[in-house]
């Protein structure tokens, strides 16, 4: 019997663009709702889906600078940033970074990137979004810089607290330690990845501290995750690597996909890993940590083939990995799967 089965898809107003990590999911347990975001060119499509499957509401967010009527730009990524005090939706584009209340109703902050008068050979954009610890949101930039924003408990007084300049190539993805286990004190809070496959491991704080730099092998790392001190990185070659974050020790290497990986996700309570690529496959794996032997084991559990589709986003819908959702280039739907 198959581990997962397909559920009814959610229709979206536009098709998904071919961008890394192109699916945002936020579970709102008290209201029995889940928010989804899918990027299409210069628009973010938001769907709010009730858990009983009866109510869907849609909203679109445009990428544009406030007060500049004709300016539009392409969006690179939209992601939810859950913080203890509030959840924000962050949208990054060629022009800058927008932060909204999690339902997309109000824009609370805008940060403009330094865009040159005439275009340069090196593209300018923001990409890579992560909430960290109690009050930070980190966003990557095409130059390799990472902007650290300090977010107050409420209101729009968000400030740029620091700029981390360690990466030399465009940031692709950023992820927080997501184990969420009380009493498990993880040393590393954040991992960032770039187009050269280089991984930086950080400790957050008033001044972020670089704990480790794991060199790449000249191949873009398009998606990265950090769980129980282990970095899980997906590459353009279709490989997944697992590293011990603070030491850089390689735990495992998987020849996972036949094409470029576009999305990774981890279900923190169960240790399930989700990987999705241009090869039309979504794969589910299981990670087991054995602290005594400092080893990590990986087992392959399940495959789903989304026929004739280059997948661009895949995320678990809950912390146990009971359900996951998928988006694909040119598809105007969010495909959902649930454990059988």
């Amino acid at each position: 019997i198959s581990m997962y089965h397909k559920e009814k898809s959610i229709q979206v107003k536009n098709s998904a663009s071919a961008l890394y990590n192109n699916l945002g999911v936020l579970r709102i347990a008290p209201r029995h709702l889940t928010y989804f975001t899918v990027v299409h060119a210069n628009v973010v499509n938001m769907v709010s889906a009730s858990w009983d499957g009866l109510n869907y509401s849609h909203r679109q967010l445009q990428s544009k600078e406030p007060n500049v009527a004709t300016s539009t730009s392409l969006i690179m990524q939209a992601a939810f940033c859950p913080l203890p005090s509030r959840d924000l939706l962050v949208v990054t584009s060629q022009k800058g970074i927008q932060m909204y209340e999690s339902d997309g109703s109000i824009m609370v902050y805008w940060h403009a990137l330094d865009t040159p008068e005439t275009p340069t050979a090196q593209a300018v954009f923001a990409r890579g979004i992560s909430a960290v610890r109690e009050s930070y949101i980190c966003v990557g930039v095409s130059s390799g810089a990472i902007l650290v924003f300090d977010v107050p408990i409420k209101g729009s007084n968000i400030t740029l607290s620091e700029v981390l300049k360690e990466h030399k190539e465009s940031i692709t993805d950023i992820a927080p330690e997501c184990s969420g286990q009380p009493g498990m004190e993880c040393i590393a809070d954040l991992v960032s990845a770039d187009d050269g496959g280089n991984l930086c491991v950080w400790k957050s704080g008033e001044d972020f501290q670089l704990l480790n730099n794991i060199p790449g092998f000249d191949m873009s790392c398009s998606s990265v995750k950090l769980w129980k001190g282990t970095v899980v990185a997906g590459y353009g070659t279709g490989q997944i690597h697992l590293y011990e974050a603070v030491t850089g020790i390689l735990h495992a290497e998987i020849n996972a996909h036949a094409r470029w990986i576009y999305s990774l996700d981890i279900a923190p309570f169960s240790g399930l890993l989700l990987s999705a690529a241009e090869d039309s496959l979504v794969r589910v794996w299981h990670l087991t940590m054995t602290p005594e032997t400092n080893s990590v084991e990986v087992a392959h559990l399940h495959n789903e083939c989304v026929t004739d589709t280059q997948i661009c986003g895949a995320k678990f819908c809950d912390g146990d990995g009971y359900a996951f959702a998928v988006t694909g280039y040119d598809l105007s739907e969010i495909i959902r799967y649930t454990q059988s």
């Binding site: 098709s15 187009d195 050269g196 873009s220 353009g236 390689l250 495992a252 094409r259 087992a299 004739d308």
Partner: protein
């Protein structure tokens, strides 16, 4: 997104356009010297030094509308005239062909190999004309200079930029349907079999290591496909084997060309509505392009009867050129049920 996308978009679309025009000129038995003149004139315009200089500057992609205008002008750079409907169909074929190549290319860097396949074919079209040949060679150098040093991530950004440009285009192309690379819903077939890209391993292996770096376990898993090892890498130099067939001429003599029309009316229903909202930048783009394409005579009316611009005096040739203009319907040719002028004028692209 990537400011280095436009040259690749233009060269590959131009290459596809030349393949199609070459096939039509042969299919309609246009005399070799006249056909050659048409091809040479278009290629000369395509590789116009000033235009290419502008093209290679870092910039965002042109809008769909602006790019279409460039190709309208290019298609009319010779004595050949196409009416609106034929031009529409030509453009649909060109764009779907390149969309297919971009989507199917194994690695983002292979887009450069696809571009070189087009360039190789263009070189072959003009191999007897040294002046144009040198323009093409210079462009090769520019491509090598600009693109061979880019990293994998930058190529993927270019590819992603192209995919946004081609988003939601699902026009059915008979040659693709026949070859079963496109489904009847207009979406391309993405096989989960065949050679993996150069630099990728066949999926199926998990290796786990000890802290000292020794491999402790190997596990196999079912990859759900039927993959084989990668082929050798295609070459990025001027006179070499590209390995990939993407970007080579689908319509060449050795291949039987599909002659069955695959339902134009359905195709047009699948056309995405192009955003016609006034774009303040578009006028600027169009003005610049018009200047660079150098005051070409484009007939103001869509009336294909207008042969005044054509140089040839020869009556026989005029009749054949009128055929190209799509007015001519041969007896017995499968024509759409409607006898409206619009349908007849599609005869130009009927065979494709």
């Amino acid at each position: 997104m990537s400011s280095r996308t436009l040259p690749l978009l233009f060269i590959n679309l131009g290459g596809e356009m030349l393949y199609i025009l070459d096939q039509r000129l042969r299919a309609q038995n246009i005399p070799a010297d006249k056909a050659k003149k048409v091809m040479n004139d278009i290629i000369t315009t395509m590789f116009n030094k000033k235009f290419l200089e502008e093209l290679f500057k870092p910039q965002e992609l042109y809008s769909k509308k602006a790019l279409r205008t460039v190709f309208d002008r290019l298609a009319h750079a010779s004595i050949m005239r196409l009416n609106q409907a034929s031009m529409d169909k030509l453009y649909d074929l060109m764009t779907m062909a390149f969309k297919y190549q971009v989507l199917l290319c194994p690695r983002p860097k292979d887009i450069l190999l696809i571009s070189f396949n087009h360039m190789d074919a263009i070189k072959d079209f003009v191999k007897d004309t040294p002046s144009i040949l040198s323009q093409v060679d210079e462009t090769y150098q520019q491509l090598i200079e600009m693109y061979t040093t880019l990293c994998s991530g930058e190529f993927q950004l270019i590819r992603q930029t192209l995919l946004i440009f081609f988003q939601d285009m699902h026009i059915r192309v008979s040659i693709f349907l026949k070859d079963k690379v496109q489904n009847s819903n207009g979406r391309f077939v993405l096989p989960t079999s065949g050679p993996v890209p150069y630099g990728t391993q066949v999926p199926g292996l998990i290796r786990m290591f000890s802290c000292t770096g020794e491999e402790v376990t190997r596990l196999q898993f079912n990859n759900g496909g039927n993959y084989t090892a990668a082929l050798r890498e295609g070459s990025f130099e001027i006179f070499r084997d590209r390995v990939t067939k993407l970007g080579t001429n689908m319509y060449s003599v050795s291949r039987p060309v599909e002659t069955h029309m695959s339902g134009t009316s359905k195709n047009s229903a699948q056309h995405t509505k192009v955003n016609t909202a006034p774009n303040p930048l578009a006028k600027e783009e169009l003005n610049l392009l018009a200047k660079l394409m150098g005051g070409l005579e484009v007939p103001k009316s869509g009336n294909a009867d207008n042969v005044d611009n054509i140089v040839f005096q020869d009556q026989q040739v005029n009749a054949e050129l009128a055929k190209i203009m799509g007015e001519f319907t041969e007896s017995g040719e499968q024509s759409p049920s409607s006898s409206s002028k619009g349908d007849d004028l599609l005869a130009m692209m009927d065979g494709l």
